[in-house]
Symmetry: C2
Subunit: 351 residues, 2 copies
DNA sequence: TTTTTTTACGCAATCGTTCCCGGTATCGAT
DNA sequence: ATCGATACCGGGAACGATTGCGTAAAAAAA
């Protein structure tokens, strides 16, 4: 089935004018008499003419659509960022094509190729946990494709970037655990090379150091798939529990990791927060309803999306190549709830 | 900044051929000698030529992109459906443009206009809670736009539809509450006119009737914005609690309603499941971690997305107008957890 | 009245691709 | 030598819209 739309030609034919006249009339050119304009405008209005965006794209050599690549949209953080992106994109007549990498490098590559073959005007991406080879992105960037990174950024590519204050997030979370009476604090993280992992871990380590707690690498666990697979989180937690000196708290450095840690601890019958404290990065609005209510580090996801899209627009609509790039860092928020609240007796006993 | 891609003209010029020959060589036409083909193919490969999809769209008068309108993607059910849609779309070379109505009729209209002006080949939609005027959709459908409804369907428009077995879902949930010892069962629902509301409520009523429980309209509450606004759910719950004969359980008929009911009951200090049983439609994977773990009716969201997209493809790629339409109904799943499990003593006392 | 200016419109190229017409060259058959 | 068939390739229109340029008619200036 075809869905035939009214074209400028149809209007021209119907009104006995040339297509150029109709086009100019619609764009309110000074070269067209007011009567003709009125005629055309009324006809267009009545038959609700809409310029064919595809023809325009071909002519203007821009598609007015951008690509967004994230690991998955069924993740509160990313869906909130996307909402921010879309709100700005929409207001500027851009259309957003969302692609999900599901934390797979191969899928990310496929998505990237697909998006570029769909001739997008710009790209927003938070790379997958698996991605260590940035050559394709570099090539794209080298060819002049406007790119803005957010969340999981790529330091070796020089362009605009938007992140939360991951260092401070990791620091705050860890300090909060320490202040709550936990001493042997483990962390379950994304892969080591990811920017967010490095930053959050740096905060974690700094907090330990600042509080005179020795860092123990056995307490640092990485999950290759960012918690997409429950088993890998389970494996990490198992290893932690098998240690001679078992940790008494976990700092999970990503949304999926946080909820899956809770899932596994509960499955194992460990009581949170008494046997194990838990805090993590998360943006779900369900965290307060969990058992126990989760203490979390929350990112300003929506604003991050807005800022990211605005930066991309800057790049796309700039006349000459941009050479000055900025990295925006947004504050995180520490929300204290039950999962880090030891029973008073115990806390006292420890101190 | 522009991102210039290799065109067929460039290849033609570089190889001293005409564009038609290059085009044909790339499409492996029989009219082209194997040497020429090889020449062109190799050149195209080496300089990684990709046909410009915009030019193709203009020529073929199809954009190979479809529009999807849902209330919000930050809702597990919808993000899962979208995943299903995208998996099929992607495999068929289609690109998915997602738009969110946020349960607002106005935004839905704007999105619809935007999508059609972007010349999509087809539309998938689950209408907003506010939508009662389907004239625009009817007009679109009348003009030949392929449309498939899912979840919140529009009965007056004759086309393919995909839904869960909402009647049975409502029935199962209610029967489960009854079997768990609850007798005065309230329901918090989406607006009355929505297809899913009607179906789920019908199941609820039938379950009451089948078990000899008289239906009480005071126990049926509607939330205009589908739970997007916490306050409206709070208002509904408040009204229920103010009744002389207070309900002892709630059946919430949508994702947001379910979690928000729990949120409010907890805020009020009511114990679930003892003072109030709670069950509802939900697709979040966090329900089992909640306090209490939520009993839910779960929909096969991903499959629903797949089926919906396949039906849309059928419509789009059919040569002649389709007149035979089907409504697929998929089974729901009842997951029993803590929020409907009264303490034994109480259950016994009641029986 | 003649010349110049202004007004108002049409022609045709362009964007990248496909495809309908052609056209030419080669070879075998007559 | 002529014809027909086959193989191979190019010209150019088309898709829908914009836009530089050309120009007729009308209006203004000479």
């Amino acid at each position: 089935m075809k869905f035939e739309a009214l074209t400028i030609k149809d209007i021209a034919k119907a009104l006995g004018l040339s297509t150029s006249t109709v086009s100019r009339a619609l764009r309110d050119s000074y070269e067209i008499s007011s009567e003709t304009k009125k005629l055309v405008l009324e006809y267009a209005e009545k038959n609700n003419y809409h310029p064919n965006p595809i023809a325009l794209s071909l002519k203007e050599r821009r598609s007015r659509s951008i690509g967004v690549v994230v690991c998955e949209i069924a993740n509160s953080y990313f869906s909130q960022v996307i909402n921010g992106i879309e709100s700005i994109a929409y207001n500027n007549g851009y259309n957003v094509i969302i692609a999900q990498s599901r934390e797979s490098f191969d899928r990310e590559m496929l998505n990237l190729q697909y998006l570029t073959s769909r001739s997008i005007d710009g790209l927003i991406i938070s790379v997958s946990t698996e991605t260590t080879d940035f050559s394709y992105l570099k090539e794209l960037h080298g060819k002049g494709m406007p790119i803005v990174f957010f969340d999981r950024i790529v330091s070796e590519i020089d362009t605009h970037k938007v992140i939360a204050d991951n260092y401070k997030g990791g620091y705050d979370a860890t300090v909060h655990l320490i202040n709550s009476g936990y001493r042997r604090i483990a962390t379950v993280s994304n892969p080591e090379l990811l920017s967010i992992t490095k930053e959050r871990l740096a905060g974690y380590k700094a907090a330990l150091a600042d509080n005179g707690i020795e860092q123990d690498d056995a307490l640092i666990k990485y999950c290759r798939h960012g918690g997409m697979i429950v088993e890998e989180v389970e494996e990490a937690v198992n290893q932690l529990l098998k240690l001679k000196e078992r940790p008494d708290a976990i700092f999970a450095s990503a949304d999926k990791l946080t909820t899956n840690c809770l899932r596994i601890l509960k499955a194992k019958g460990l009581s949170v927060p008494d046997q194990m404290g838990l805090i993590g990065f998360s943006n779900t609005d369900l965290t307060e309803l969990l058992d126990p209510p989760l203490s979390v580090i929350k990112q300003p996801a929506f604003e991050m999306g807005e800022i990211t899209m605005n930066l991309l627009l800057q790049l796309i609509e700039s006349k000459r190549p941009v050479t000055e790039f900025e990295t925006k860092v947004l504050p995180t928020e520490l929300l204290i709830r039950g999962s880090t609240k030891k029973k008073e007796v115990k806390t006292k006993a420890m101190v």
